[in-house]
């Protein structure tokens, strides 16, 4: 804190990640009248996860809008609203349900600015709970980030903690371009954190070093972050010092943070739950290759989901990276 700042006490609340998302939306709805929420069951029901709980009561049903069950409809009309001065926050109930809207996102939301040389733009946020491990029915557990990081013209963020969830949500709403905001369903209520009650933002495009370490860099995001932190602590007991990087934004990715860390440790393990082939892990390996190749002491390891549809709940834990698989990856790069 600099000396010329008057000391103001930041008021915080101890809340879960889903409460932080709710609080972030409440903050933007209060600050900006053009902000709208659209989605299936977001109004009266407050969302199937309660992400929008209570918001319709405060802001009315013309700002927190229950839409028909129609993903392409939600995204397509949000594009029209956004082009014409509104700031829609469109909820896709589960990321696995985003596919009917893929055409609208790929062929319109992400390229209207380019096609019109900036005359029209689509400042909208698409919220989508993602990820496995909560014993949800099939199709409810997909991690489809690579479909969108590969899509030019849209940003992709994925908070791991309540604090980041609120700050990134507000930043996403204020961003002049479309932002896919992936919510780690698994972390919705698994832990709490002190979160400022007021407005603040987390810069899109900036990752965060969660744990400082010397021997190996563990790079991950979203629901994998708490797991990887836990594994880092286990590894510490075995004398391996892990640095944990939480990317927070998946596009544009914080290349500087990755490079800085890998140059220090000389080793990296990338952990994500999406399928391996075409996964974002491969881009991270490429970034390390481009920026830090000569610092590497071992080939980079990837610990990821398999190239299979997310298994039904009885087997989904075999799909997700486990502490054992992550530890094995760490040992492999340490013992190379």
């Amino acid at each position: 804190m600099t000396s010329n700042m008057t000391e103001t006490k930041i008021v915080t609340k101890d809340i879960t990640l889903i409460q932080a998302i709710n609080d972030g939306m409440k903050t933007v709805l209060e600050r900006d009248e053009t902000t709208l929420i659209l989605g299936e069951d977001v109004g009266k029901n407050g969302g199937v996860f309660r992400a929008t709980d209570g918001l319709q009561e405060i802001f009315g049903d013309d700002r927190v809008i229950d839409t028909p069950l129609s993903e392409s409809g939600i995204i397509g009309t949000s594009i029209g609203l956004a082009v014409n001065g509104m700031k829609p926050i469109a909820e896709i109930q589960f990321m696995g349900f985003i596919y009917p809207a893929y055409d609208q996102i790929m062929t319109h939301a992400s390229r209207i600015r380019m096609r019109t040389m900036g005359r029209f733009s689509v400042p909208m946020v698409i919220r989508a709970p993602y990820g496995a491990g909560v014993r949800a029915p099939e199709i409810h557990s997909d991690s489809a980030e690579s479909l969108f990081t590969h899509m030019p013209g849209i940003k992709v963020v994925c908070p791991a903690t309540p604090y980041d969830a609120k700050g990134l949500l507000i930043a996403a709403v204020e961003d002049p371009d479309p932002v896919l905001y992936m919510e780690p369903m698994h972390s919705y209520r698994s832990f709490r954190e002190e979160v400022p009650t007021d407005y603040y933002t987390i810069e899109i495009g900036k990752g965060k070093r969660r744990i400082e370490g010397e021997d190996v860099t563990l790079i991950t995001w979203g629901a994998m972050v708490p797991l990887v932190e836990k594994v880092a602590k286990q590894a510490k007991e075995n004398g391996i010092s892990c640095e944990v990087i939480d990317l927070r934004t998946l596009y544009p990715i914080d290349e500087g943070l990755i490079a800085e860390s890998v140059k220090k440790t000389g080793r990296a393990v990338v952990i994500h739950e999406a399928p391996r082939t075409g996964g974002l892990g491969n881009d991270i390996v490429s970034i390390i290759n481009d920026t830090s190749f000569l610092y590497l002491k071992a080939p980079i390891e990837r610990v990821t989901g398999f190239d299979v549809p997310v298994p039904f709940s009885s087997l989904e834990n075999h799909y997700l990276p486990t502490p054992e698989r992550i530890l094995k990856g760490i040992e492999k790069v340490i013992n190379f």
């Binding site: 129609s70 009309t77 014409n84 029209f120 002049p176 596009y251």
Partner: protein
């Protein structure tokens, strides 16, 4: 069902007024404006085909035969309204105020072709099918939220009604009672697939029933029928009475695009009996005493001049700027994209 949606006509193929009640709505100014625009976009369309054959522009989808539908609809719009076209609606766009040079530029592969004149709310042509119905619904919904009387029109073809977004667009517009006009040009064919294979329904207008959206079937080659039904829909939308579905039955005289050969799939004799919408309009002008040789000659000359000037301007336009492929993807260039741009530009500059 077809009986419930009789095709509305104001003038017949011979240019005779068949709906006498509409006569008082027709004055010299309307007739001349309509004729001017139809003649103008027809000439534009012919020029575009010719330029494509000479290799001076790229693949082009002609709209010849659909001039009454495009002009009749676009002329009913107000300055502040929104227009969401397909790639075959440059006639409507030009009528609504799109820039002709830029329209040629679009078909010559230039981004500038998607940028409307300042203040003009013309969206770039939708290339995917039916997606724009949702954009029109959303944009007009925003107008309703702002408390204006502005509306949006979405253009689409018969094939588009088979897409999911057709349903989602009409349903949203119906549920939220948005001021949207769904303007269908049923031109008989979606590339090679005829209307009968596109749907078993006999009309497109009847699809409005499912959404409780007022709908109407008009002779799309009859300028007045299109224009007057459009006016009714526009007024309803402006007065908060929600969306309308209009089926304008017309005919694609030519190919799907300059890369297409309709003789492969469309019997030659089909459409032979269809009277060209501009011929029909001229007959009406002559029948009703609106025809004026000098006026027509002036217009023909004026349009020729405008088109020649636009082609010249298109061909002497500054070269496409390679930086444009990077600079408009986001409001602010992200680092990794900035790096790709710098690396490529250095290569181009021989560094």
């Amino acid at each position: 069902m077809v009986e419930s949606f009789p095709m509305k006509k104001v003038i017949d193929d011979q240019g005779n007024l068949v709906m006498a009640s509409e006569r008082e709505l027709i004055d010299q100014d309307l007739v001349q404006t309509a004729y001017y625009h139809m003649y103008r976009i027809r000439t534009f369309d012919k020029k575009a085909k010719s330029l494509q054959r000479q290799g001076r522009i790229g693949t082009y989808p002609p709209f010849e035969g659909q001039e009454a539908a495009q002009v009749g609809s676009a002329l009913a719009l107000g300055e502040e309204d929104w227009l969401f076209p397909t790639y075959r609606d440059h006639g409507a766009m030009l009528t609504f105020g799109a820039n002709m040079t830029r329209t040629f530029l679009y078909w010559n592969g230039r981004l500038e072709g998607c940028v409307p004149p300042d203040g003009k709310r013309i969206f770039p042509a939708a290339v995917p099918i039916a997606t724009q119905l949702l954009h029109a619904t959303g944009a007009s919904w925003a107008e309703k939220r702002k408390g204006t009387k502005n509306i949006a029109i979405a253009y689409f073809g018969d094939g588009a009604t088979s897409e999911g977004d057709f349903h989602e667009g009409l349903n949203f517009a119906s549920v939220f009672q948005t001021p949207t006009i769904f303007f269908n040009q049923n031109n008989g064919y979606a590339i090679s697939v005829p209307f009968e294979r596109q749907m078993n329904s006999k009309t497109i207008a009847q699809k409005g029933i499912a959404y409780e959206i007022p709908s109407v079937r008009v002779d799309g080659n009859d300028f007045f029928a299109v224009y007057f039904e459009m006016q009714k829909a526009v007024n309803r939308a402006r007065n908060g009475e929600g969306p309308t579905l209009i089926e304008a039955v017309t005919w694609r005289t030519g190919a799907h695009t300059t890369a297409d050969d309709p003789t492969k799939y469309r019997p030659k004799e089909l459409g032979q009996d269809i009277v060209d919408p501009i011929v029909r309009f001229e007959r009406f002008m002559k029948n009703e005493g609106f025809w004026d040789e000098d006026f027509a000659a002036n217009i023909h000359q004026e349009v020729e001049k405008e088109i020649e000037a636009a082609v010249k301007e298109m061909e002497s336009y500054p070269k496409a700027n390679v930086e444009d492929i990077f600079d408009h993807v986001f409001a602010e260039l992200p680092n990794q994209l900035a790096n790709q741009k710098d690396t490529y530009l250095q290569l181009l500059r021989g560094k």
